[in-house]
Structure formats: structure tokens, C-alpha cells
């Protein structure tokens, strides 16, 4: 009996980091992340490689740790800026998913909304020759409006005809993908790259090859905006009447209606905001690093963002961190594979594991509270 006691106590003690309910929204994702790295380490070990080395390379590649050597004009700083550049659209896209989720809606059309807004901004501003000071804000504005319109359409279809948003967003994904690809092929194609023609530097949201201190770096102009927007979204959801209504609709539609909240308009509004955020993701993606659109392809980033939003507990600040982490693993994978000789796909495995474990969060929470009750029990009966 006493042996049994000790065993459970040990298990209980092992769980100390995630016992406190107040901190669980943070500790559980962190624990799932650690756990996924452990599992990935085992996989790497089985492949006969050194996991510590591999993870170190991963972080080196992402510009968190210094590499042994750098090519000309490159340094840890340039790597890190590339990381932020890749992270920027992911933050926007995950915020888009989170806002919709809070309203009880599942926006899986982020990719389509990104493509649409990226395309519209490209053809209106990208080839216009406008001055950078006009072009860049205009790109952001157009991205937001285009995405917002597309999101709003989804909300409106739901409100007016009660069509489920998952259906409409999937359909709109296809429509955007093929219609836009038609236009690119017919009007904007670059015969060499088989993509849309490159946009002007002035319209880009990434300053490419910016020379400073003998380095050539890519400066993601949208990054600061992404952080600011995340904070704004948090403020909107937690502190404003608009946020209250959106959350009320997401929490209990019948009660929201009874309270006098206009459920339909709030769903439309939430989808406009969500779409607008997806639009920002679109322009920072297509008019940032890439400066061009590949026809017939929807970026997987729009789907990854669902998982990133969940990992961040649909919480704007959580999303900044989860995007940061996922981007690190994504960005570092190339360097890891070249250095450690591990296939790049291992990075996807790690991301997959993190998402899998964090998806189990609710179960873990339940288990922990059960264990906690038992522990209290035993202490009482012992004393």
C-alpha cells in the first residue's frame, strides 16, 4: 500500500509544472512542445543521428543561435530577420482563425482569402509604379479590404441562407484558386518563372537586400504591424463592446439573441475582421518575401494557421509565441537537413507532434485535475 502511495506521489510530483490551473493555458502548450521534442529526439536517435545536434542546427538555421560560418553579407541577424519575415503572415493568419473561433465560426478559408487579397493588391498596386510611401500603406489597406469582403461574404451567406461556413470557405478556396490562376495565366504571367510578374520594390512589404553594416538583410516591415495588431485584437476581444458581442455569439447563440445582440450581424462582422486579418496575411505573404504569386497553388500557411491558433489557445498573445515557434522549426529545417543529414521532413514531424499533443490539452487538463483530487484525498486520509 505504502509503495503504491509513493508511486502515485512520484507521478504527481512529476506533474508539478502543469498542476496549477491558473497557469495551465501556458504550461500545457509548453509541456506539449517539450514532449514533442522528446519524441522527435527518439525518432532522430532511431535514425542514428544526434538529436541535440539536430535541434541545435534547427535553431541555428532560424537565426536563434549562431552558425559556424556565414556566406557573404549574411549573419545571425539576417537569418533572424528572415525568420520574422516568415512569421509575419503566420501571425496574421492565426489571428484570423482565432477571431472567427471566438465567434463560434470555423474559418478554414484563410488560404483563399490570402490569395484573393494578395492578388488584388498585386494587380492594383504591385505594377502601378506608385511611390513607396503611398504604395505600401495602400497594399495593406487593399489587402484588408479584399480579405474582409471575402470573409464578410462567408458570414453573410451563413446569416442569409444558413450555409455552413466550412462549406463556403472550402468552395471559395477553390474558386479563388482557379479564377485567380486564370487571370494570372492570361494577363500577368512571367514567361520565365511561370508565375505572376514580379511586383515593384515600392509595393513590397519586405525591404529586400537592405544593406547595413556590411550585411544584406530582408526587413519585414509588416512584423511590427503584426505584433501591434495582435495586441489590438486582444484589446478588442477583452475590453470592448464589439468583442463582448462576438464572444457572446460564440459562446451561446440563443442567449446572445435573447440578450438583444444581433447574432447575424455579429457573425458577419467577425468574419469581416477574420477575413481582413487573413488579407493582411495575404499581402505580407505574397507582396513580402515572394513578390509574386504562383498560380493554382493555395499556400499551406492558411491551414497551418488553424493549428497555430489552437496551440496559442486562440489567444492573440499566445499566437505570437506559437507562430514564433512554428516558424523557427519551419525556417531552420533546411539548415538542419544540410548540416545533420536529417531529412527536412523531420521538421514537419515535430510540428505535427506539437499540434497533436496540444490538441490533447483538454484531456491532459482533465487527467491532472483527477490526479490532484486523489492526491488531496490521500493526504487527508494520511493525516
Amino acid at each position: 500500500m505504502s509503495k503504491d502511495n509513493k508511486k502515485t506521489s512520484l507521478r504527481y510530483r512529476l506533474l508539478w509544472p502543469i498542476r496549477n490551473e491558473k497557469w495551465q493555458p501556458i504550461t500545457i502548450p509548453v509541456a506539449s512542445i517539450l514532449f514533442s521534442f522528446i519524441v522527435a529526439a527518439i525518432v532522430i536517435l532511431l535514425l542514428g543521428k544526434n538529436p541535440i545536434q539536430a535541434f541545435y542546427n534547427l535553431f541555428q538555421g532560424a537565426g536563434i543561435f549562431p552558425k559556424a560560418t556565414y556566406a557573404g553579407y549574411k549573419s545571425m541577424l539576417t537569418d533572424f530577420l528572415s525568420l520574422l519575415d516568415a512569421m509575419t503572415p503566420l501571425v496574421f493568419a492565426s489571428l484570423a482563425v482565432a477571431v472567427a473561433l471566438r465567434a463560434g465560426l470555423f474559418n478554414i478559408g484563410v488560404s483563399g482569402q490570402m490569395l484573393f487579397s494578395g492578388f488584388i493588391a498585386t494587380i492594383i498596386v504591385g505594377y502601378s509604379g506608385l511611390d513607396a510611401f503611398v504604395a505600401k500603406p495602400l497594399v495593406l489597406l487593399i489587402g484588408m479590404i479584399a480579405g474582409g469582403l471575402m470573409g464578410g461574404l462567408v458570414g453573410w451567406l451563413k446569416y442569409k441562407f444558413n450555409i455552413h461556413e466550412v462549406v463556403t470557405t472550402i468552395m471559395l478556396n477553390y474558386i479563388a484558386q482557379y479564377v485567380i490562376s486564370f487571370f494570372i495565366h492570361n494577363y500577368y504571367i512571367d514567361p520565365v518563372s511561370r508565375q505572376s510578374k514580379y511586383i515593384t520594390e515600392a509595393a513590397r512589404l519586405t525591404l529586400v537586400n537592405f544593406e547595413f553594416a556590411n550585411l544584406k538583410m530582408d526587413i519585414p516591415l509588416g512584423f511590427i504591424l503584426a505584433i501591434a495588431v495582435a495586441i489590438f485584437v486582444k484589446f478588442l476581444l477583452d475590453k470592448t463592446v464589439v468583442g463582448f458581442e462576438i464572444k457572446a455569439v460564440g459562446s451561446n447563440r440563443d442567449a446572445a439573441k435573447y440578450t438583444g445582440i444581433k447574432v447575424g450581424s455579429n457573425m458577419i462582422l467577425a468574419m469581416i475582421i477574420s477575413g481582413g486579418l487573413a488579407g493582411l496575411a495575404g499581402v505580407t505573404y505574397y507582396l513580402g518575401d515572394f513578390a509574386s504569386i504562383q498560380p493554382k497553388v493555395l499556400t499551406s500557411l492558411g491551414f497551418d494557421s488553424i493549428a497555430v491558433a489552437l496551440l496559442g489557445n486562440s489567444h492573440p498573445i499566445g499566437i505570437i509565441f506559437s507562430s514564433f515557434l512554428i516558424s523557427i522549426i519551419d525556417q531552420g529545417s533546411t539548415y538542419m537537413s544540410s548540416q545533420a543529414g536529417i531529412r527536412q521532413e523531420i521538421a514537419s514531424v515535430i510540428i505535427g507532434l506539437i499540434l497533436l499533443f496540444s490538441a490533447c490539452g483538454a484531456y491532459v487538463k482533465h487527467k491532472v485535475s483527477r490526479l490532484k483530487e486523489k492526491e488531496v484525498d490521500r493526504k487527508d486520509s494520511e493525516s
Partner: protein, 510 residues
């Protein structure tokens, strides 16, 4: 072996901020109907949840048939032949009755000895047999979403019987039923006992205890006060023990003083989703200083009248005037602003955001205006202050005060929260639909007193209730509804309970 089939010894259960059960010991004999009585939040549901495996006690021991057990899950409870019919049903809306009943213990058959499938047909048959045996007629192939509340309850009962429960726990089974359905259910419960089952019955209605129970335990604030022999204890004593003071069953009431007309309903017609007229050509008025009650058997259109006045459903004909203003086509929000408070029938579906905390729920009808928000920015402090005030004033009990998640509150206290929120709106017209459902007798007395107080302050009150006693007790004017039509409108003094009953059944009309 002891004489008890269930024994709970020195049970203590704590939740954050509250001791829900404090050193409670009870023993239940095989084949008896054992009632649990206590105020809202006294810990009745919690105590029984430990028997049904939802929670485990922090301290104390449970013996079933003389053997010490640790009931760690509802499945484990089922293995011990314990089943609970919960206060708030736990059914999957889109599934059929059979699917709900066999969920988790599906009978697996093999097709051609190889491919497993769920033997629905066999299950259907078994359920039909069970329902015949215990008089709980249902059509096993129907979906839950299409059932009335009392039918859903039958499914819950069949669910535990299907799992071969010998010890059946009913948590406030009659709170959601009409008087006729209650009679029926109590007969079923007695039938179950007569077939040898042991019944634990949680209820706030003393007459039900008096009618069917053998013994009765009284809880107060988590502690066991006494276990009584029902036969030899008066209803008054039970009430007194439970509330800790003497209870007035009849509300004291000064004669009503009607002033100006507040609500005027003219030839109101309402259609339900299927286009069927559920309210037909109904007209009445309510004055300031008047409690107007609509009496009727359930589903005769009374809830739809309330919904139509509050704007939750559209009137298909007729007009509604509030203080002389036509509000027939106004939005819900505008009606609230023009002066309507509404306590809805279904508190969990409409009345509350279960995942929000108590202060947010208490402020949820006023969040959009000063002082709860200013220029679109919420003022959390105001919510907290307001919440703290209301908890005090309306005696809303919960574990962590205004920060309590409403889902974790006891059923009766959820109801009190809604009542507090709506009365505080100070609207000229207050609609109370089934306001005392699931509320303990002490609180019922309070709610009735508050209604009369509001009336005396010049409010117009529309009361919709299935309980004739309640209506006879507080109403100044009674409108009896049958089949969507008002059969009779008269001052309550001029009507006897019997007369109202006859109008309700449609046996008598003008």
C-alpha cells in the same frame, strides 16, 4: 451485512471556495424511496454525483451492498447498478432514442461472423420491452431533438434501466414537468420501487416527498441536518428544517392598485416553425401595479405569447403596445430599452452564458451602455461592483463569488442570477416565465415577495406558470389559455382553483 444498500460515511467534498458536502453520512435501505431536501446550493446534486461516479469524495467512504467502493466513473457506477437521471439532461440531440441509450455500451454483432456492426434492431426491441414493462412508452427510432422535455426525461430513465440499474437517482426530475406529467412520473417511480428498485429522489417540492418518499434527508449548506421519517413529519417542519426558519407558503399581499395601462396585446397570432398557429387571436392588457398570470397546461401557447412580447419570435398577426407605443416590429434590444425584462423558460439555453463568469452574466443585459461601457470600451470594475451588489441583495450562492463560472453553479442559483439581472433592469414590464422552476421553497417565497414588491412599485408583471398554486398565490388577474386561445380573463378573487383547472382543460369556456 448491514441493512443498507447504500451507505455514505463522513463524506466531504470541496470545490474552490466552498465546502459542498461537509461530513455527510446517510444510509439508504433497499427498496425505499429516499428523498433529499435542501436549499439551492446545499450540495444535493454534488452528493449524488459522487454516488454516480461524476466526482470522487475528498474524504469519507462509500459502501454499496456492504462493500467499500471507490466509484471512479459513471461506468463504474453502472457496474454497481447505480444510475442517475441528471438535473440537466445529457443527451445527444441528433441521435435517436436507441442510439442515445446504447451509447458507450453498443451491442456489437458480427456480419457473416466477420464484420462488426451495432445491433440497433435488437437494441430497439429491448428498449421497447423495457419501456412497456415500466410504463415509459417511447418510439425508440425518434430523434432526441424532436422530443418534448418529459419524453427526453423518459429516455434518461430508460438509459439507466437499460444499464440494469437497481439504485436510481433522480435529480429534480419534476422541475421541468407539468403537473400532469409529474403525477405520471411519480407513479412510475413508485412502480420502480414496487419492482424492488431503490430510489433516491432530489426535489424541492414537499408534497411530492410527502406523496411517495419513505424517508427524507435534509441538507443545509453542505451539512446533514436530519433524516426524517416522512410519514410522521409535517410539511411545515421539513420546510423549517431545510431553510432554517419558518416558511410562509402563502404570500402576503395587499390589494392591487391598478394604474395606467402598460402592456396591451391586441389580437396576437403567432405561428410556430411549421406554420401552425400556436397563439390565436389573443388580446389582453396589463396595468401598472398588476400581476397578470397566464394559466394553462404546458404547450398551449403561453410561452410563445411571452416570446412574442419580448421579440424572440415574430407575431404573424396582431399588435403589441408598450406604454402606448407600438412595439410589434421592434428589435429585441429596442424592446428591452423601451422597458421589458424577461425571465425565459429555459435558463441554460437562453438565460445564461454558462462559460462566462457570474459578474459578466449579471451585466449581460446592460453591457452596452453607461456605466458598464463608455464609447465602446467595457468597464470591468463596474461589472464587478454591480455583480457583488446583486449577489448580496439576491442571495446568489456560489463558490467564488462574481468570478464563478456560471456552469459550476447549482441549478437554483443560476435561476436566481437571472431573476436578479432582470429585476435590476427596473423595466415597467416584467415577464416571468416559470420563475421558480428548480428553486427551493425559501427562495420561492423570496421571489414571490419580490414580484409583489415590484408590483407595488408600479411595475406591470406578466407571469407564465404551470403551477396553479403559484398563480393563485400571487396573481391579481388570471388569463386561462387553452389551445392557443384565452378562454377566460378574470380577477383572481373571482376564480377558484377548480374553475381555472376546468378552463385549462378546455372543458369550460365563455
Amino acid at each position: 451485512m448491514s441493512e443498507y444498500i447504500v451507505e455514505m460515511k463522513h463524506i466531504t467534498k470541496r470545490f474552490p471556495g466552498i465546502v459542498a458536502n461537509d461530513d455527510v453520512s446517510i444510509g439508504i435501505k433497499k427498496g425505499e424511496i429516499f428523498a433529499l431536501l435542501g436549499e439551492n446550493g446545499a450540495g444535493k446534486s454534488t452528493l449524488m454525483s459522487m454516488l454516480s461516479g461524476m466526482y470522487e469524495p475528498d474524504e469519507g467512504e462509500i459502501y454499496i451492498r456492504g462493500e467499500k467502493v471507490q466509484i471512479s466513473s459513471p461506468n463504474h457506477a453502472a457496474n454497481l447498478n447505480i444510475g442517475m437521471v441528471h438535473q440537466h439532461f445529457k443527451l445527444v440531440e441528433d441521435y435517436t432514442i436507441t442510439e442515445n441509450i446504447i451509447l458507450g455500451i453498443e451491442p456489437i454483432k458480427k456480419f457473416a461472423g466477420l464484420f462488426p456492426y451495432v445491433g440497433i434492431r435488437g437494441a430497439n426491441r429491448k428498449i421497447e420491452e423495457l419501456s412497456k414493462k415500466f410504463g415509459l412508452e417511447v418510439d425508440p427510432t425518434k430523434k432526441i431533438a424532436d422530443l418534448t422535455v418529459s419524453m427526453q426525461q423518459r429516455v434518461e430513465i430508460l438509459k439507466v434501466l437499460y444499464r440494469e440499474a437497481e439504485i436510481l437517482i433522480f435529480d429534480e426530475p419534476t422541475a421541468v414537468l407539468t403537473p400532469q406529467e409529474i403525477d405520471f412520473l411519480l407513479a412510475i417511480i413508485e412502480g420502480l420501487r414496487n419492482s424492488g428498485k431503490t430510489i433516491i429522489l432530489i426535489t424541492h417540492k414537499l408534497e411530492e416527498i410527502k406523496r411517495v418518499a419513505d424517508r427524507c434527508a435534509v441538507l443545509n449548506k453542505g451539512k446533514l441536518i436530519d433524516v426524517l421519517d416522512v410519514e410522521t413529519t409535517s410539511v411545515n417542519l421539513m420546510a423549517q428544517l431545510m431553510v432554517g426558519r419558518e416558511v410562509n407558503f402563502e404570500s402576503e399581499k395587499t390589494p392591487a392598485q391598478f394604474k395606467e395601462e402598460v402592456l396591451k396585446v391586441e389580437q396576437l397570432t403567432v405561428k410556430n416553425e411549421d406554420g401552425f398557429e400556436v397563439v390565436k387571436d389573443v388580446s389582453f392588457t396589463i396595468h401598472s401595479g398588476e400581476i397578470f398570470a397566464i394559466a394553462g397546461v404546458a404547450d398551449n401557447g403561453q410561452v410563445e405569447i411571452a416570446d412574442a412580447i419580448a421579440g424572440l419570435i415574430k407575431a404573424s398577426g396582431g399588435k403589441i403596445f408598450l406604454n402606448g407605443q407600438d412595439i410589434t416590429n421592434d428589435s429585441i434590444r429596442n424592446r428591452t430599452e423601451s422597458g421589458i425584462s424577461y425571465i425565459p423558460e429555459d435558463r441554460q439555453k437562453f438565460g445564461l452564458f454558462l462559460d462566462f463568469d457570474l459578474s459578466t452574466n449579471l451585466g449581460s443585459k446592460q453591457y452596452y451602455k453607461k456605466p458598464f461601457s463608455n464609447k465602446g470600451i467595457l468597464n470591468k470594475q463596474e461589472f464587478d461592483q454591480f455583480g457583488t451588489q446583486l449577489i448580496e441583495k439576491y442571495d446568489i450562492r456560489s463558490g467564488q463569488g462574481i468570478k464563478t463560472q456560471v456552469r459550476s453553479m447549482s441549478g437554483g442559483n443560476q435561476q436566481k442570477a437571472i431573476i436578479a439581472r432582470e429585476i435590476e433592469l427596473q423595466s415597467p414590464l416584467m415577464i416571468f416565465v416559470q420563475p421558480t422552476r428548480g428553486v427551493d421553497i425559501g427562495a420561492i417565497e423570496n421571489i414571490h415577495r419580490m414580484m409583489i414588491e415590484q408590483r407595488d412599485q408600479g411595475k406591470a408583471i406578466l407571469l407564465v406558470s404551470l403551477e396553479l398554486d403559484e398563480i393563485m398565490n400571487v396573481a391579481d388577474t388570471i388569463g386561462v389559455i387553452y389551445n392557443g386561445q384565452l378562454q377566460k380573463v378574470a380577477s383572481s378573487d373571482s376564480l377558484t382553483t377548480n374553475e381555472v383547472g376546468e378552463y385549462m382543460m378546455g372543458a369550460k369556456h365563455e
